[in-house]
Amino acid sequence: MNSLILSVGARFLTALFLLFSLFVLLRGHNSPGGGFIGGLIGAAGFVLYSFAAGVEAARQALRVDPRAIGVWGMAIAVLSGLASALASLDPFTGLWLILADLALSTVLVFDIGVYLAVFGAILTLVFALEETL
């Protein structure tokens, strides 16, 4: 779709989508949001980019095969579930590292896994649909 307005807009909107999606992901534990919504928004950014610049360009901008991103997300989710073995707790038990106000946890890692999996999955889908003609 050759539109100057769209392509200029997409340039910064994609970045904005990504930024916002990370924000949604990270604060999901306390406000509405989380990995899934974050992943959707992030993917939406790249979908927009692919509309403006074409799928090939979007793939290049992404550098990695979206399927691999998804699989890595799944891997992260699995690992975060397995991590509690180190503390000899039940699987998927959250391990918390609370530094002052900042809470780091395997639960967050799990959510990041969800984010990546959704992100990868949606881009795989949309790119594959786009490339089918």
Binding site: S31, P32, F36, V118, L125, A128, T132
Partner: protein, 120 residues
């Protein structure tokens, strides 16, 4: 409150079934989306509608004075919506492939795998 949503959910289910039965794959997809919506509403209603307060805690985990909306069905719904989306996406891809394969979307005319058994 729930009554109205229950009726809506039943109505959505009914329309979705009518669409699914139309014999056109794309209509089936429309039906599928409606069906998920209808069922999601049913689950929401079954988990009771509490107008207003979302299930968010105040600072330091303070419980708000009023009852909050039931969090569990919301979590289930979220999962269900996401799963429904995944299934829908696959069905959509399959529809495109089916169109490319058969040249039409009339499911009743898709009979490669199952031709009518001829009498011996």
């Amino acid at each position: 409150m729930e009554t109205l949503v229950a009726c809506l959910s039943g109505f959505l289910v009914a329309t979705s079934i009518w669409l699914m039965l139309s014999g056109n794959l794309m209509r089936f997809l429309f039906g599928l989306l409606l069906l998920s919506n209808g069922v999601n509403l049913a689950i929401l209603a079954a988990g009771r509608l509490t107008p207003g307060a979302p299930p968010l805690l105040g600072a330091k985990g303070a419980l708000p004075p009023d009852t909050m909306a039931n969090a569990l069905p919301q979590a289930l719904l979220l999962t269900a919506i996401v799963i429904g989306f995944g299934l829908f996406a696959f069905a959509l891809a399959l529809t495109i492939r089916a169109y490319r394969t058969f040249g039409h979307l009339e499911v009743d005319r898709m009979r490669i795998a199952e031709p009518a058994e001829e009498r011996e």
